[in-house]
């Protein structure tokens, strides 16, 4: 057992190093780089190792790309290329599906990551998924506070007669898997912000000492770290038990840690943190936008509460 772990560890480190090497190059095409390192195979073979690694790096380096689609499709157990379609996944902006059925029509409203023009969209509806021709929906680039994510809002009403059903898929598994991935991305961003602020607290001197010497500053950074660790713990749990509940909790906690990190790191950095010439602002924007995908912190908490009430019990942590 120990041997297998050692090999896995080495392979993981190697993978991470090649990934970082590729992804820290200026102007890198993220999707091409991920294809080069065989990300999709890694995801299929060992999601427990692949997802934290990639999404952690994605959050830390503020990358774009379409890895979230890969996570969704892997969970869905659906490979669009087998049907010879280049389907982009429409992710929900809130705690509901990106598409709702009303009699014989489907109302779609969601987000696509990594600005592209695919021929069709894949949308999760309940426990299934449908493939919608791109021409049937309106696309608008989201001019929000983080343009670097290249989000596109996809909306429209289509007749069920104009879409095709994806067979034998596990629609219910998508949201938990994506929430988990997004939570890792949020924590990657938190780690980067914390590192920046901690370094600053050591380097910046006022009143004859580094500002990190002041308890007020120490406490702010510690609070962020505590929030981060709590989220990380539940994230780890989410692979083992009650994924529907734990992923709701994990993303909510990660979003909270993200908001706290933005607030406290901005406060510690002072005015320089707001200047575009400093990288912190990009993380501040990123965590806000990630909060909205698959449900905001508040929405997730409400959803979790509803779920627990429906079940009539609170699952014990560590139980299957």
């Amino acid at each position: 057992m120990a041997d297998a772990t050692a090999v896995d560890r080495n392979a993981l480190d190697l993978f991470e190093r090649s990934l970082r090497g590729l992804l820290t190059t200026d102007g890198v095409d993220v999707d091409a780089a991920l294809a080069e390192v065989g990300w999709r195979d890694f995801l299929a073979a060992d999601p427990v190792a692949a997802v934290p690694l990639l999404f952690g790096v994605q959050g830390e380096l503020l990358l774009g790309g379409t890895a979230l689609d890969d996570v969704a499709l892997d969970a869905l157990d659906f490979d669009p290329s087998r049907l010879e379609i280049d389907g982009a996944l429409v992710h929900p902006r809130r705690c509901v599906d990106a598409a709702m059925r009303h009699d014989r029509t489907l109302v779609v409203d969601g987000l696509v990551v990594g600005e592209r023009t695919p021929a069709s969209f894949v949308v999760v509806v309940g426990s299934g998924a449908v493939i919608v021709p791109a021409t049937a929906l309106d696309c608008a680039v989201v001019q929000g506070i983080d343009p670097s994510l290249e989000l596109v809002r996809v909306r429209g009403t289509v007749s069920l007669a104009d879409v095709s059903m994806a067979d034998d898929v596990d629609g219910a598994a998508v949201a938990p898997a994506c929430r988990r991935a997004l939570a890792y991305e949020l924590l990657g961003a938190v780690d980067a912000m914390l590192a920046t602020a901690t370094e600053y607290a050591q380097a910046r001197h006022q009143f004859g000492q580094p500002i990190g010497a002041f308890q007020a500053v120490k406490h702010r950074l510690a609070d962020v770290y505590v929030a981060r660790q709590a989220a990380s713990a539940v994230l780890a749990e989410s692979w083992h038990s009650e994924p529907e509940c734990t992923t709701l909790a994990a993303k909510a906690l990660a979003a909270r840690a993200g908001a706290l990190a933005a607030e406290h790191c901005l406060q510690v950095l002072g005015a320089i943190g707001f200047a575009l010439e400093h990288p912190l602002h990009r993380f501040v924007r990123r965590v806000r936008v990630l909060d909205h995908l698959y449900g905001t912190e508040a929405e997730l908490r409400t959803q979790l509460g509803r779920l627990l009430l429906a079940r009539g019990r609170v699952p014990r942590p560590g139980s299957a």
Partner: protein
């Protein structure tokens, strides 16, 4: 530390009604893009129209074009302007602190030169205090003025100077001598931003503005006539100036408009019990802050310097505004877009990116809490 209870009298309430009527007339709702509190746009024409009604330089001496009016009356006008989102950027700093500073410690010549133009809403000021290596530790500034024939030669860099790219004058804190301790030997100098050797560089910010600037002085000559107050007494002068700056309605009226506009655009919120709870909590806090702020104005009118009280109000108010914003965001369905057709959303999008700076600018809450804590021992 004392906050005496106070209310507006009939005369003050009449003034309030007058300002509301003026704003409804000159800037009807929907006819302009409101700003968030003191981040209101610079509009010299509006400042001058306001001045024509006697509402700029209200606390300045009548002899120099001012109104010789109490701080409370200025409070009343400021409150109305800020909650309307009026474009006050051009005259705000001049009116709030630079003018009053000159009135208090300026020479008769300086008063004659600057105050009337400030009172007419013509002249605009910015503040040069922070430097790249001196933020919270303001006494550590290294911009230095060296004696020259008829004045001083200034070298150094000021940073985070709001509006330096579009204002006329800067009130700069510089070191003119070395005293026994570092709080001695600092002076306030009037710097003409168009003088040779002054270079202003806008710094683009997270909220999409470039109002904050870096200002570099390279051998800038400042005549003796432009030194404000006794040489070497700058630190004490700033203390007073900061009391004016910190305790006013600007500190708790930056996000108010977001709340008001949201309710206007989404009347259904009025019957949402959770929103009701937020509103109740927010209003309770607003009343508290307003009372504290008004009390500070009355204290100033009694000739006192409520520096600790002002620090307390700013600390509380800026934190409150940030918390309120977070709470309001909980009722918004999607990430607010800056280019939205909804005014509430536009204001919210701006507020989201600006609000984190409330607890930093004009004194971080860490510094303010220290001031309050020291005050408790008194």
């Amino acid at each position: 530390m004392r906050f005496e209870f106070t209310v507006l009298d009939d005369h003050e309430r009449a003034l309030q009604a007058e300002v509301r009527a003026f704003l409804g007339d000159v800037l009807p709702r929907g006819s302009f893009e409101p700003g968030l509190g003191m981040a209101g746009r610079k509009d010299p024409a509006f400042s001058q129209a306001l001045a024509a009604r006697g509402w700029v330089g209200m606390s300045l001496p009548r002899d120099y074009g001012g109104g010789d009016r109490p701080a409370v009356e200025r409070f009343v006008v400021a409150e109305e302007l800020l909650r309307w989102g009026a474009p006050v950027g051009h005259h705000w700093i001049a009116d709030r602190q630079s003018g009053p500073l000159l009135a208090k410690v300026g020479t008769p010549e300086q008063k004659a030169r600057f105050l009337p133009a400030i009172c007419r809403g013509e002249l605009s000021f910015c503040i040069g205090m922070s430097e790249p290596d001196s933020g919270s530790d303001l006494a550590s500034v290294v911009t230095r003025a060296v004696r020259a024939e008829g004045g001083w030669v200034v070298n150094g860099t000021k940073v985070w100077t709001t509006g330096a790219h579009e204002h006329d004058w800067m009130m700069a804190l510089v070191r003119t001598s070395d005293g026994r301790d570092r709080h001695e030997g600092l002076s306030q100098l009037l710097v003409d931003l168009r003088a040779p050797g002054v270079e202003v560089r806008p710094i683009p910010f997270l909220d999409g503005t470039s109002d904050f600037n870096e200002v570099v002085f390279q051998d800038v000559f400042v005549p003796d006539a432009d030194v404000v107050g006794p040489e070497g007494q700058g630190w004490r002068q700033i203390g007073q100036e900061l009391a004016f700056e910190r305790g006013g309605p600007d500190r708790w009226l930056s996000t108010y408009l977001v709340l008001e506009q949201l309710l206007r655009e989404q009347p259904a919120l009025a019957t949402d019990p959770t929103f009701g709870e937020l509103l109740g909590a927010a209003v309770a806090q607003f009343w508290g802050l307003r009372q504290l702020s008004l009390s500070i104005a009355r204290t100033i009118d009694r000739g006192e310097q409520p520096a600790v009280e002002a620090a307390l109000v700013k600390e509380m108010a800026t934190r409150f505004e940030q918390d309120l914003l977070e709470a309001v965001l909980g009722f918004v369905q999607s990430e607010p877009a800056p280019g939205s057709g909804s005014l509430a959303e536009r204001l919210l999008a701006t507020a989201v990116l600006t609000a984190p700076s409330f607890t930093i600018r004009g004194g971080t809450i860490e510094i303010l809490r220290t001031i309050v804590a020291k005050g408790l021992r008194a």
